[in-house]
Symmetry: C2
Subunit: 212 residues, 2 copies
DNA sequence: CTTGTTAATGAACGAATGTTCATTTATATA
DNA sequence: TATATAAATGAACATTCGTTCATTAACAAG
């Protein structure tokens, strides 16, 4: 047998990406063979090479696509916000929602960095730093305006990103909380970590209370 | 050639653990071969099997040892704290310091979970939940006492753990900040995320300020 | 000194890996 | 209808993998 009736190149490439995404996320890049990807697509391993030059290229493709889409999605949304408070809340909700909706791609992009060869690593790392830069900018502007109380903007940026991305390690759709409930909880904690209290929360605090 | 003069079993096992720790952390469990571990120790791959039954057993050993030591270290220190505020500050400082001091072991224990077979996975996961339980308890007590303002204790626990562990992804000894400076920054952000302000910070806030 | 155990070697095993290649068929183009 | 290209197959390649095994030398105990 040879070429199968009805096969289209771009369609197969799409299936390969989807299968690789799922498998890499579940078992790790190094533990997934080209044959297992091919099996999930319903083709032979050698047919993959009609669409991707190497296994490594699939990984880089997945990561790069994910990060570019992430950047594009945020850039489209960030225009809505004019002040740092609204922007930060928007970022938190966006990040959590987006990362929960694309768990597999997120997981790969954070876990498989060490399996990238130097050129690919540089490209991916640049995109991630670019994304982090958006949050850093928000925090920086809010700090300069005296709205956020931040001792160290870069550290706060990394801390918040880690906090938000950590949702992926425990959130389950079948769990106790909905996505929007989780968003709300994290919005409050993130603003708290920047010592930016909402008016009603500030009113609820006892001014005379002694804390460490 | 056969047995080498001066070789002692427990000593070789120690070297194997050390080499595997370093290699797993740098390249990932699946990408590290028994032969490369052996090379780093200065023996043949087959000699490893005098000390560990399988490659998987080395991974489980490393993770289990790390988590048991982590638990033991915290249990020894946690006795010093009587109130939730002191305990939380102590936990934050302990977690950051300990995780920075044992970067490789921490990295493996968080990244290689998916390479564990079911029995090993259950053992390791139980230990990690046990550790998280200590932080959850602190937050829970502080919340009940009205010292922390927490909407959801389990979520706050996971958020803070993720935030703290994230330090490992960016901290470098050669960087701008020392370990204790980082500790201090995170202590403030963690207390902030629980809306627990120190007396001087509270005084610094303008009660009339309008925030979102 | 003899004996049993310990800790190494080096060869070998079968299985699995990423990748290449000749081949074959479906499809688009001229 | 003839031809070039696209997209698959299945066999094969050289490596590498975790692991086993017979063998051997160092060491401890009697």
């Amino acid at each position: 047998m040879a070429r199968i009736a009805g096969t289209v190149g771009e369609e197969t490439a799409r299936k390969v990406r989807a299968a690789a995404l799922e498998l890499f996320a579940n078992f790790g890049y190094a533990a997934v063979s080209m044959r297992s990807i091919a099996t999930h697509v319903g083709i032979q391993a050698s047919a993959i090479y009609n669409h991707f030059p190497t296994k490594q290229a699939i990984l880089v493709d997945l990561m790069e696509t994910h990060l570019l889409e992430l950047l594009h999605a945020w850039e489209g949304r960030s225009r809505n916000y004019s002040d740092p408070v609204a922007a930060l809340e928007g970022f938190v909700r966006f990040h959590i929602r987006y990362h929960l909706d694309k768990q597999a791609a997120v997981f790969i992009s954070y876990m498989e960095l060490r399996n990238l060869e130097p050129e690919g690593f540089a490209r991916i790392e640049k995109l991630r730093r670019y994304y982090e830069g958006y949050l850093r900018k928000i925090i920086s502007i809010g700090a300069d305006a005296g709205i956020f109380s931040v001792k160290d903007v870069p550290v706060a940026t990394m801390a918040i990103i880690a906090m938000l991305t950590g949702v992926n390690t425990w959130f389950r759709n079948t769990g106790r909380l909905s996505e929007s409930e989780v968003e709300q909880l994290y919005v409050q904690m993130v603003f708290g970590s920047l010592n930016c209290l909402s008016a009603d929360m500030l009113a609820g605090l006892q001014p005379g209370r002694k804390l460490a």
